[in-house]
C-alpha cells in the first residue's frame, strides 16, 4: 500500500527516483599510463559515466559487470597528479573520491641530489654517487654524461657546471665533464657573465676562480659563525655554505646553511649583507625570472623542509 502510494506520488510529480551511486572499488593510487580500474554500484541500474578531473578532464562509460547494478571502468591516467573521481547518471553527478597518480620508476634516477633549469625549460640533474648526470625533458630522464658523483649543478648562459664529490669544478662539454679547477673542496659553484667561477667551500669560504685560474677569496674568513654584515665580505663569517648563485642584479647569493640565512655579496663593492629572514637549513638556491631567490631547505630535528622565496629589495 505504501509502495503504491509512493509510486503514485512520483508519477504525479513527474520525477524519477534519484540514483544511488557508491564506490565498490576505487584504488586511491595509480601510476601514469598503467591501467587503473574502478567498480561502482548504481541503484537502480542505469547507464553511467565515470569522470576523472585533474590536469585534464576524462570521461568514460561504465560497463555493466555480471553482477546486476555493478559497473566498471578502466582508465590510463595521462598525467601524474591528483585526480577527482565522480560518476554521472542522467543529470546527477556524484563525487566518489580522489586518486593520486604517480610517475613510473626510472632506473636512471638513482641519487638526485641537485637540479638546475636550462634555458630550454629542461632540467639538469646531478647525482651524488657515481651515477650519470641527467637531463629531464618532457617528464623523461636522459643520460647526458657519466658523472664522478656531484654535489651541485649550475647552469649559466646555457652551459652546465658541476661541483664534483672530488672537490673539482667541472664544465659539461657535450657528454664530457671537463675539469676546470684542481681539487679545492668545492661544494657548489656559480658562474658570472665574465666566466668567473664562485666556489663554495664548506668550512666557510667563497672563492673566485678567474678564467686565467687566479683564485681569490670573495666571502668568508674560514671560521664558522655569523658576522660581518655591512662590512667587507672577506672579513665575514659564514657557517657551512652549501650553495651559491648569481642574481639578476649581478650580486652573489650564498646559502649560509647553518645560519639559516641567505647572504648577499655586492660584487662591485665587496660588501656583504643578509637577504630576508630565516630560510631554514638552506642547501640550494635558484634565481627566478623576476630576480627572486628561491631556497630549498632540509628537515632538521623534525622541523623545516620545503621552499622559500625571497625578493631582493622588497
Amino acid at each position: 500500500m505504501t509502495k503504491a502510494f509512493s509510486l503514485l506520488f512520483l508519477v504525479a510529480l513527474g520525477t524519477a527516483p534519484s540514483p544511488s551511486v557508491h564506490a565498490v572499488s576505487l584504488p586511491r593510487h595509480a601510476v601514469k599510463g598503467v591501467p587503473w580500474r574502478a567498480v561502482v554500484a548504481v541503484a537502480p541500474p542505469a547507464r553511467a559515466t565515470l569522470r576523472a578531473t585533474g590536469p585534464k578532464a576524462l570521461a568514460v562509460p561504465l560497463r555493466a559487470t555480471k553482477r546486476r547494478g555493478r559497473y566498471q571502468a578502466t582508465l590510463r591516467f595521462p598525467f601524474a597528479g591528483n585526480w577527482r573521481i565522480a560518476v554521472t547518471v542522467g543529470r546527477r553527478t556524484t563525487r566518489l573520491g580522489s586518486v593520486a597518480v604517480d610517475v613510473p620508476r626510472d632506473s636512471l634516477v638513482q641519487d638526485p641530489i641537485t637540479i638546475a633549469a636550462e634555458p630550454s625549460g629542461s632540467l639538469v640533474v646531478g647525482q651524488l654517487q657515481a651515477a650519470p648526470v641527467l637531463r629531464i625533458a618532457h617528464a623523461r630522464a636522459l643520460k647526458i654524461a657519466d658523472g664522478p658523483g656531484v654535489f651541485h649543478v649550475y647552469v649559466a648562459g646555457g652551459t652546465t657546471y658541476a661541483a664534483g664529490r672530488d672537490g673539482v669544478v667541472y664544465r659539461l662539454d657535450g657528454s664530457t665533464l671537463t675539469p676546470l679547477t684542481p681539487p679545492m673542496d668545492a661544494s657548489a659553484v656559480a658562474v658570472d657573465d665574465a666566466g668567473n667561477l664562485y666556489v663554495a667551500i664548506y668550512v666557510g669560504w667563497i672563492k673566485k676562480v678567474a678564467p686565467d685560474g687566479t683564485v681569490t677569496t670573495v666571502a668568508g674568513n674560514g671560521t664558522e659563525g655569523y658576522s660581518g654584515d655591512g662590512g667587507p665580505a672577506t672579513s665575514a663569517q659564514l657557517f657551512h655554505p652549501h650553495s651559491v648563485a648569481i642574481g639578476r642584479d649581478g650580486a652573489l647569493y650564498i646559502a649560509d646553511t647553518e645560519n639559516r640565512r641567505i647572504r648577499r655579496v655586492d660584487l662591485a663593492s665587496g660588501r656583504i649583507s643578509t637577504l630576508g629572514g630565516n630560510v631554514g637549513i638552506t642547501v640550494s638556491l635558484a634565481v627566478g625570472p623576476g630576480g627572486s631567490i628561491y631556497s630549498a631547505d632540509v628537515v632538521r630535528d623534525g622541523a623545516g623542509g620545503g621552499i622559500t622565496r625571497t625578493t631582493p629589495g622588497a
Binding site: 601524474a80 597528479g81 591528483n82 604517480d102 610517475v103 613510473p104 620508476r105 626510472d106 632506473s107 636512471l108 634516477v109 638513482q110 641519487d111 638526485p112 641530489i113 641537485t114 637540479i115 638546475a116 633549469a117 634555458p119 625549460g121 632540467l123 640533474v125 651524488l128 629531464i136 617528464a139 623523461r140 630522464a141 630576508g276 629572514g277 630565516n278 630560510v279 642547501v283 640550494s284 638556491l285 635558484a286 634565481v287 627566478g288 625570472p289 623576476g290 628561491y294 631556497s295 630549498a296 631547505d297 632540509v298 628537515v299 623542509g305 620545503g306 621552499i307 622559500t308 622565496r309 625571497t310 625578493t311 622588497a314
Partner: protein, 48 residues
C-alpha cells in the same frame, strides 16, 4: 621579505625555469617534482 611557498619533507634542491615553474628534488625519495602554483602541492615529474 621571505615567504615560505612550500612546506614538505626535505627539499635538497630547487630550480626555477624561465617561465617561473618551480621544481624540487628530494634525494632520499629519489624524486623530482613540480610545485603546482594553483594548488601549492607537488606533482611528480620523475622518480627512481
Amino acid at each position: 621579505m621571505t615567504t615560505r611557498i612550500l612546506r614538505s619533507a626535505t627539499a635538497n634542491g630547487v630550480a626555477v625555469a624561465s617561465d617561473g615553474a618551480v621544481y624540487v628534488n628530494q634525494w632520499e625519495a629519489k624524486r623530482i617534482q613540480l610545485l603546482d602554483r594553483a594548488t601549492g602541492k607537488l606533482v611528480p615529474v620523475v622518480r627512481g
